[in-house]
Amino acid sequence: MNTPSSLMNRRTLTPAGEALIEARSLSVAFATGPNVLDDINLTVERGDLIGIVGPSGSGKSTLLRVLLGSLKPSHGTVARSRGMTIGFVPQVERIDWNFPVTVSECVGMARSRGWKTPWITKNERVEILDVLERLGLHGLADRHIRDLSGGQQQRVFLARALFTGAETIFLDEPTSGLDVKTRHEVLHLLADLNAEGVTVVLSTHDLNGIAAHLPIVVCLNTRILGAGSPERVLTPSILEQTYGSPMKILEHAGMRVVVDAGYNSSVDNPALTTVPSAKRVSGL
């Protein structure tokens, strides 16, 4: 099993890279409540594609916010590489969809540091259109963000993060509420960006659809209970510790599928819990 201490050695699983963010002995508590995060040690290196998984309330979003710098830890340190920029894609549930902002305005607001013209310049407009086209949002620049599909909305905020010029992007539950097809489109997009050199850290509760296809998975439930490749981390023991419920791992068509051990019907018929298009991202 991968323990928090063995997490420090997980670099053997991935190509060595420059450390961008280093969290050491990190703990977070709100008011007088128990720790939301406890003794977290985590290193994000350039080029990583990391998925943080865990049940609701496990501290996934809090960990992202601490790594991002928008929340101060109660204890421990977070060191970020000097001058690095981080783009953040929040949960779509947090977005005010009635806010009057078009797609291009939403993306353009990302460049807010230093003196900028109130209006989007011609060069910026070209850049925005390029980013939108790259993310499959061609022709939507002047649409209101509410008038897009779930996948398109997710990509708008990804475009905003990219438009900052960020080399590292954090995404909080990027596939929440998306259908299977759109979920895989987003996953492929992130994989493509990562292949182009963008470091990606995301939180997800989707074990089979997302986490199992990422190079590095971090199992979190207040503490880090395992970290490394899905093969090493998505084990019945670690998953039970993480989710507090017994789980089984099935092999189906060359893929590992996590199922709740309580649902015998699923265990008996693995096809029921297999994501049909999961093979498309096996290259991750």
Binding site: F88, I95, V101, E105, A110, S112, K116, P118, D142
Partner: protein
């Protein structure tokens, strides 16, 4: 309608200096409130105009009690109150509406208590409560013009950080925007706006001049930049038309201005989908 215009001398009142001052101030105040009101409405702080104007009344009374310049004292009080509201919302799990309710009504209660105990610090207390647009002087014109210029400068120079912080404060902060500075500047301009327009519109009506133009604009567009332009225009038109109507119909100027804005709200509500501008003006 033709008979109405034939029967009245539309330009007659412009012979009077007080009316010219009043029209200038009402138009500028309307535009100023329309512009600033967009941020107020989109931050779900629509009640803050009403609350701040009441809070500033408290500052006015206390300033008179301790012998400080009334305008300076009330203005400082307003800024501190606005920042206190923002601080409470950020640091405690309390909604902005509740924070506004607590801070501003407490301040207003303090003002009432002071005035009851020690008397009104000046003869303008009633004007602050109900507005006195026909009594504005050149100083009021310069004050509203100065605050308007400051607000336009803030929006122009800080357009993107203001938009980002208003839309998504946490992500803005994570992206390197100094959201605390943005908040402080916005609250200072908001307090100055309330203070500068309060003697014209009055404590009891100022919330409408902040909120209604922004709401009208929101119903007509899905673009933020266009909303700013429309709200400023709606505010200016309601101030100008309201001021003129108030003279010819012999009605209180503050309430006429608000009623004109309300008429524009009703028109936008009915026709909103047909005239939805969808960001075209901002391009």
């Amino acid at each position: 309608m033709t008979q109405f215009f034939a029967a009245v001398d539309l330009f007659g009142p412009y012979e009077f200096q007080f009316f010219r001052n009043g029209v200038i101030v009402a138009t500028l105040a309307g535009a100023l409130c329309g512009l600033v009101g967009c941020y107020v409405v989109l931050r779900n702080m629509s009640y803050i105009g009403h609350g701040l104007s009441h809070a500033i009344f408290g500052g006015y009374a206390v300033a008179g009690l301790v012998g400080v310049n009334l305008f300076l004292g009330a203005g400082t009080w307003g800024v501190v109150t606005a920042l206190a509201i923002g601080g409470i919302v950020r640091r405690r799990p309390i909604g902005s509406d509740a924070a506004i309710g607590v801070v501003t009504t407490a301040s207003f209660a303090l003002g009432i208590a002071v005035v009851q105990k020690y008397g009104s610090p000046g003869k303008n207390a009633d004007a602050l409560l109900f507005g006195n647009i026909l009594g504005v002087n050149a100083g009021d014109v310069w004050l509203v013009a100065g605050v308007s210029l400051t607000a336009v400068a803030l929006v122009a120079f800080g357009y993107r950080p203001l938009l980002f912080t208003t839309f998504d404060e946490e992500v803005a902060e994570a992206s390197g925007v100094n959201t605390t500075l943005v908040e402080v500047l916005l609250m200072i301009v908001l307090a100055a706006t309330v203070l500068a327009t309060m003697s014209v519109i009055g404590v009891t009506l100022i919330a409408a001049t902040l909120v209604v133009p922004a709401v009208v604009a929101r119903m007509l567009t899905d673009s933020f930049s266009t909303m700013l332009l429309i709200a400023t225009a709606v505010g200016a038109v309601s101030g100008f038309v309201g001021m003129n109507l108030s003279f010819h119909l012999d009605l209180p100027s503050g309430s006429t201005i608000v009623l004109v804005a309300t008429a524009m709200f009703l028109a936008a509500f009915v026709l909103g989908n047909r005239v939805h501008l969808a960001g075209k003006l901002g391009k």
